[in-house]
């Protein structure tokens, strides 16, 4: 008896050591490529040419590379554009998604099922695939090279928030609506006064998923915003495939500039990000 207890204790210790080893190695692999970029971004021209890429920079107070990256890639402009797009698109998709979900979930009418299937099928079509023909439509509507055109197309391909809201409405009891209507509330009132404030968790989830998607979106931004003043943060970064293609000290600085804002947001909203991920996954 004592023997087997001892044996189990040893096994548990072995497992614990193994576990931490695995987690440390995993975290190292996840972080190392980025950390090397941090080193490189702070190196002077001379250090970059002479020292090993794995060596620490002399000082972390050398910002020349960041300055060059910001200028060459016009990244401040990119940040500004991305910020505008994020605010407008996220706000719009919260209203669009929640209003549509309210109607589809709460009202029985002819065509309800058909509309839901249309959205489900649309979710299967991969975004990049349809851009060949979306490009033509954007062109004929005169939406190319306008920030608002890009915003509209981002709203139009937003299926994920609709799903999240639909799912959330399923779990909001109908009795809420009914008692409000008894009290003389209109349907508009029910939605905006009673239900919308309750949607907060779903709003956070869709903000996280949609926010990450929009911040990182490259393909459509590249197609529809070709004017250099309209570049978003990811298309601005793409400039580094050109003449600066092997100046990795600048490139690493540029990469870090795009990572830093999302890193800070992640540190603040870690919990919401994880739960948003989990909620988004259930939909499938």
């Amino acid at each position: 008896m004592t023997m087997s207890v001892k044996k189990r204790k040893v096994l548990t210790t072995v497992f614990t050591v193994f576990k931490y080893l695995v987690l440390v190695v995993g975290s190292f692999i996840a972080l190392a490529p980025v950390v090397v970029c941090v080193f490189t971004a702070f190196k002077t021209e001379e250090e970059y040419n002479t020292t090993s890429v794995l060596a620490l920079p002399k000082s972390f107070a050398y910002f020349e590379n960041f300055k060059v990256a910001l200028e060459k890639a016009n990244m401040l402009r990119g940040f500004f554009n991305t910020a505008v797009v994020l605010v407008v698109v996220l706000t719009a998709s919260i209203f669009i998604g929640s209003m549509l979900a309210y109607v589809l979930n709460r009202f029985q009418f002819k065509g309800n099922g058909v509309i839901q299937s249309l959205f489900t099928f649309a979710a299967l079509i991969p975004g990049i695939a349809t851009q060949v023909t979306v490009y033509q439509i954007m062109y004929s509507l005169g939406l190319i090279n306008h920030l608002y055109g890009y915003m509209i197309v981002l709203m139009g391909t937003d299926i994920i928030s609709i799903y999240i809201f639909l799912q959330f409405f399923e779990n909001l009891p109908v009795s809420l609506d009914e008692s409000a209507i008894m009290d003389g509330c209109t349907y508009f009132g029910v939605f905006f006064k009673i239900l919308f404030p309750l949607l907060k968790p779903a709003i956070v989830t869709s903000l996280v998923l949609k926010g990450v998607g929009v911040y990182n979106e490259y393909y459509m931004s590249n197609l529809y915003l070709q004017d250099s003043n309209l570049k978003t943060i990811s298309t601005a970064l793409y400039v580094f495939t050109g003449p600066y293609g092997n100046r990795y000290n600048y490139i690493c600085a540029g990469v870090l500039i795009t990572i830093i804002p999302i890193f800070i947001l992640f540190l603040i909203f870690q919990k919401q990000v994880y739960s948003g991920m989990a909620a988004g996954a259930v939909k499938g």
């Binding site: 890429v53 990049i128 695939a129 939605f191 870690q270």
Partner: protein, 321 residues
């Protein structure tokens, strides 16, 4: 009576007002392009200028043209990567489900790559794999000679593995968070109870953890098929499809926007969509038949049924009053 009528009117007003914008967007940016895509796929055409009807020739070309067919083959590397990634994610999540000091830091570190934009990931790994840079320096530090190290991006027997690895790096942490979320939904008392009953870690994994996450694992396995075919940014930035690393989307993008072979690109898109629809159908069938044993999805369906029954009961009660 008057009241009921105005209610019905208001209901329709709400329906129309709330659905107008999303339906318009859905039509203009999904369904019109979709049907146009089907139409274009039957023509040999550019964006501007005359077009000739070629029937199904573009579809035949998707499977017979070297670069297109090859790109389907390239996505097999990404699929293999996806399977490794799911395995790793499952393994790491299992490690983290047991009480761990500093689990927040481990989770954060491994999840973070998911938040980096695809273009930045491309640059990070272009730098990582470039001759004499990060990976080579690291291997040299371990005592391997530079001439024994392959050219990670140029040598065709290894470059797709290098590129697929960037996908694994990017998504493993996110998968891990998903699995961990599902595992955490298990009542933690079960672990303690099973500990007392003498279950070891393997038993706990096999009989408590695995059943709680199998639906999400299968879901991700199926999603990884369309994900592999859709791999785009890293190969686009790192090699731009050179040295036989063109993924399906990289090739499609080149055909559509550089070579202006619009018809062929549309046919490729339709083929991709067909594969995705097939996967989705397979997924639904799988869930229907494989999980009929009272676990995850079954209970969800049961819960839905119960809720519906409750709703109806409530309605009936109201009608009776």
């Amino acid at each position: 009576m008057e009241n009921v009528k105005s209610r019905a009117k208001e209901k329709w007003l709400v329906i129309v007002v709330f659905m107008f914008v999303p339906l318009l967007l859905l039509l203009v940016f999904t369904y019109v392009p979709f049907f146009k895509m089907v139409e274009f796929s039957l023509y040999k055409m550019k964006y501007i200028g005359p077009r000739t009807f070629v029937g199904l020739k573009n579809y035949a070309d998707v499977f017979s043209r070297g670069e297109c067919f090859r790109s389907l083959f390239v996505s097999v590397y990404y699929m293999a990567g996806a399977i490794i990634q799911l395995g790793l994610a499952l393994f790491l999540a299992t490690m983290l489900v047991f009480r761990t000091k500093g689990s927040g830091i481990f989770k954060g570190a491994m999840f973070f790559p998911y938040l980096i934009c695809g273009i930045a990931i491309g640059f990070i790994f272009k730098f990582f794999y470039a001759r004499g840079f990060v990976l080579d320096s690291f291997l040299q530090m371990l005592g391997i000679k530079l001439e024994d190290i392959p050219l990670w991006l140029e040598e065709e027997n290894i470059n797709n593995i290098s590129l697929a690895a960037t996908s694994v790096w990017r998504y493993t942490g996110q998968n891990m968070i998903l699995f961990l979320g599902a595992m955490m939904s298990v009542d933690t008392d079960l672990y303690e109870a099973s500990d007392l009953d003498g279950a070891n870690k393997w038993h706990q994994f096999r009989y408590i953890i695995l059943p709680s996450i199998k639906s999400i694992v299968v879901l991700n396995l199926i999603l990884s098929i369309s994900g592999s075919l859709s791999a785009f940014e890293p190969p686009y930035v790192i090699t731009n499809g050179a040295w036989g690393t063109g993924t399906y989307f990289v090739i499609m993008n080149r055909l559509a926007h550089e070579n202006q072979k619009v018809g062929l690109a549309c046919a490729m898109a339709i083929v991709l969509l067909a594969i995705i629809v097939a996967c989705t159908v397979a997924q639904n069938l799988f869930f229907k038949y494989a999980f009929d044993d009272g676990t995850a999805d079954e209970s969800k369906a049961a819960a839905r049924k119960r809720k519906k029954a409750e709703k109806e009961a409530k309605k009936a009660a109201k009608g009776g009053r």
